[in-house]
């Protein structure tokens, strides 16, 4: 792969963000937080786009990775899965990168965010990272994706081995893994970890989690104030801006907006009909369609146990590394990684009850084995408390996996079922 990379995928994301921002400015009803959100995305990917030219150090990393450490060392992060998602979301097209992934010899069973990512690197449509960082949070695909990218881009890499369960031994091991990664990054980048900066980031991350909890409280209101696919904004902000000032600004703005709406008794849609639980990630390429159909049927996602529903605990800026490790155990997604015990199952039931959920939609991504293996289990648990579950077969990135027509038909049937109840 040549150094003179064709970064057109990043350019495409940046262009789309700019167009959306321009369009939003012309909308009288636009939320200020929405404006901030697209500006943040624009800034994130513009920084990445210009990183080589600016002499920045690019650290590519997988999902649920402690990116706080990357920010504290003043590196430019490249969240790999989110980059693939954003390519799908903003361009609606991933055929070329998926085909390139297949040409590398990656089987079709490898999930599209990772197959597409490898393909995107092979095509030279992403900037070459200076380091590749990855972990086994939250599945085999994340655990196994790093080495091929290292080899393709000829960059060094570090793998964080995230323990499966939660115990004192395991937390200690995770902190040790992070310490080793800091040494690795210091050696490769010739820059030192700024521990005081990391403490500041941790303090902000703690605030960030608290703000999401407050937003979730507001989403409990009937009618719910946040639009249906809005939770993806929360997810993206968490993934791309952990402990960053812009994340705080966005979340505070959003919280204020939702708080005002709740005070006024105003919902995200007029005459809310169905309150839904979203289990896992909807297809990126159907996002506008799903938003439209949720308006049409006045059916909104009010809670996402594995994406926005943080675990208990607080972070301590006085112990920054331990706190970053602790945060990884508080992640909503962590409930899907450890043993599927009562704690995980109880959280679904609690969410369904607290958020007065009428039904749940399980986005069954064909490439996501560890989530799909819970479909029956979650259905059984939710059915016990009289919450029906719709399983929507899809792929988070690949538009050929399912069509709007199929999804519409299934959703309409599901809404009819909910109506009959």
């Amino acid at each position: 792969m040549t150094e003179a990379v064709n970064t057109n995928k990043i350019k495409a994301i940046v262009s789309a963000c700019r167009i959306i921002s321009r369009m939003n400015r012309a909308r009288p009803d636009v939320r200020k937080s929405e404006m901030l959100y697209y500006q943040m995305l624009n800034n994130y990917f513009t920084r990445l786009l210009n990183a080589r030219q600016n002499g920045d150090f690019i650290a590519a990393h997988t999902v649920f990775f402690p990116a706080e450490l990357i920010y504290a060392m003043d590196m430019v992060p490249m969240h790999t899965e989110t980059t693939t998602w954003m390519i799908s979301l903003f361009t609606g097209e991933c055929t070329d990168i998926l085909a390139a992934g297949a040409e590398l010899g990656l089987a079709s069973e490898i999930c599209t965010p990772h197959r597409g990512l490898a393909g995107a690197f092979a095509l030279g449509t992403l900037p070459r990272p200076d380091v590749m960082l990855w972990s086994n949070m939250v599945c085999d695909n994340t655990a196994k994706s790093g080495e091929l990218i290292m080899e393709m881009t000829k960059c060094p890499g570090f793998f964080i081995d995230h323990p499966f369960k939660d115990s004192e031994d395991e937390r200690k091991y995770l902190v040790g893994e992070m310490e080793d990664m800091v040494h690795f990054l210091e050696e490769k980048s010739h820059r030192k970890m700024d521990w005081s900066k990391l403490s500041e980031i941790v303090a902000r991350m703690d605030r960030q989690i608290e703000l999401v909890r407050e937003i979730n409280e507001l989403r409990k209101a009937v009618p719910t104030p946040f639009h249906s696919q809005g939770f993806l904004e929360l997810v993206s902000v968490d993934y791309l801006f952990p402990g960053q000032p812009e994340a705080i600004e966005y979340l505070e703005t959003l919280r204020q907006e939702l708080s005002d709406m709740v005070k006024e008794g105003k919902g995200a849609v007029p005459d809310e009909r169905f309150r839904l639980m979203s289990l896992f990630i909807p297809p990126m390429y159907l996002m506008s369609f799903l938003e439209k159909i949720s308006q049409e049927y006045r059916a909104l996602s009010v809670v996402e146990p594995f994406f926005t529903y943080w675990g208990e605990g607080e972070l301590d800026p006085g112990k920054p590394l331990e706190s970053v490790a602790k945060k990884s155990y508080m992640l909503p997604e962590m409930r899907m990684y450890g043993p599927m015990d009562e704690r995980a199952l109880t959280s679904i039931v609690d969410c369904a009850k607290q958020y007065k959920v009428d039904g749940a939609i399980y986005y069954a991504d064909v490439g996501c084995r560890h989530t799909c293996a819970t479909i029956k289990l979650f259905k059984d648990v939710l059915n016990e408390i009289d919450v029906p579950v719709l399983t929507l077969d899809c792929d988070v990135v690949d538009p050929t996996a399912t069509s709007e027509e199929e999804v519409r038909e299934k959703l309409e049937q599901f809404f009819e079922l909910l109506e009959d109840r």
């Binding site: 089987a107 085999d140 695909n141 655990a143 084995r369 560890h370 293996a373």
Partner: protein
């Protein structure tokens, strides 16, 4: 004789002891040894992955057996319903057998955080199948000293959990005896594999798989005696196999000897493998060094053993495979990956490159667990063998 042996059709005259191993496999999980064990009031535990330390269970007086799925490709309606179609057919097959009560005799199930399929199989087993004891171990993916310490602590916790369940302590003496027994098994299997390094090995790959399948489904005390007897039989038999090319089989879990036989029927001489049901099962011994506690020695062995594709860095596994390629004079490698066995899927491009760099061609097959290797697979194997023959000329 040709490697296209008729062993699996019941050529009873070749090696008498093979029939006994076959009987174990054909009756599993209702084998007489298991039933006898249960009748005597002892406990039988099932384990889900090779990172579950058998010696700990054995030292507690438990018979550890491997949970495997149907021996042939089967409709997996229940497995699909519970684990969904995108989990590997091995997990779905095992779960279906469990759901249908075939493993109801088990007193415990032990798993590890080894791969998505294994951990979800454990989760659903725990929730839907009422086996009295469950334990899942965190298995690190690295070989660092910190990783070894964590895994050691995990094995200690597993031992303590087991002791609590049984109501007695597992002694170091019992652990040492179990280590010796299991090491003997490993040594005997290594002796068997050494015979396959010969230009004309006396035993085929399919026959070897019959022995391996029995090895994790019966008491090691009996298995070792039977294997010793078989090795004696082989040594005086004068059996020799030849083939068109020497093949190494790698990839996902595989227990159907018919699959190996389908390669051998076409003239491929399967001389070695890298499978969790074979070399990665018996690969390395437990080394009791000085005053190190037996549990520490066991933990070190299980984490350092011939690695699964889940481990990092992958070159540890690749280098071991390349070592085998040289030791067994392998002409070509057949990779069989069960669909949705993601760790092996990710490794394939990297491993293929390394093998091609030493001029060893790779045939990559996507399979379902239990497949006998018919149809399209046979056609592709045939073409691969022809290519290897042409390359040799």
């Amino acid at each position: 004789m040709s490697v296209a042996s008729d062993i699996l059709q019941g050529d009873n005259s070749k090696f008498h002891m093979l029939d006994r191993f076959r009987e174990i496999n054909s009756t599993f999980p209702k084998t007489s040894q298991l039933l006898d064990y249960k009748r005597s009031g002892k406990k039988v535990f099932g384990w889900l992955c090779t990172y579950s330390p058998e010696e700990i269970m054995h030292a507690a007086g438990i018979l550890p057996i491997r949970i495997t799925g149907y021996s042939q490709e089967t409709e997996l309606d229940d497995g699909n319903a519970y684990l969904y179609v995108n989990n590997c057919s091995f997990s779905r097959s095992c779960l279906q057998l469990g759901l249908r009560g075939e493993y109801n005799f088990l007193d415990g199930v032990v798993g590890g955080s080894t791969c998505d399929g294994a951990r979800r199989l454990f989760d659903l087993w725990r929730y839907y199948i009422g086996t009295p004891f469950h334990h899942v171990l965190t298995v690190p993916r690295k070989y660092t000293e910190k990783a070894h310490e964590l895994y050691y602590r995990e094995v200690v916790k597993f031992t303590e959990h087991l002791e609590e369940f049984l109501g007695f302590k597992i002694t170091d003496e019992a652990l040492c005896q179990s280590i010796m027994l299991y090491n003997e098994s490993r040594k005997l299997l290594r002796d068997l594999y050494d015979l396959r390094k010969l230009d004309n090995p006396p035993i085929t790959g399919a026959e070897t798989m019959e022995i391996l399948n029995a090895s994790f489904h019966m008491p090691k005390e009996i298995f070792n005696e039977w294997l010793k007897e078989l090795l004696r039989e082989i040594s005086v038999s004068g059996e020799r196999n030849s083939g068109r090319a020497r093949i190494m089989l790698i990839g996902s879990v595989l227990t159907n000897p018919e699959f190996v036989k389908s390669i051998e029927d076409q003239g491929g001489l399967v001389v070695t493998d890298e499978l969790c049901t074979s070399t990665r099962y018996w690969g390395d011994p437990v080394v009791l060094e000085g005053t190190a506690s037996p549990i520490r020695a066991i933990a070190r062995r299980y984490l350092n053993n011939f690695p699964c594709a889940r481990m990092f860095p992958s070159d540890e596994r690749f280098n071991r495979i390349i070592e085998f390629v040289h030791d067994f004079k392998v002409d070509g490698v057949i990779s069989q990956i069960v669909r949705y066995c993601v760790p092996y899927c990710h490794d394939l491009p990297l491993l293929t490159k390394r093998l091609n760099n030493i001029d060893v061609p790779v045939l990559a097959l996507d399979v379902e667990y239990g497949t006998s290797g018919s149809g399209q697979i046979q056609t592709r194997v045939q073409a691969f063998l022809e290519m290897l023959e042409a390359k040799r000329k």
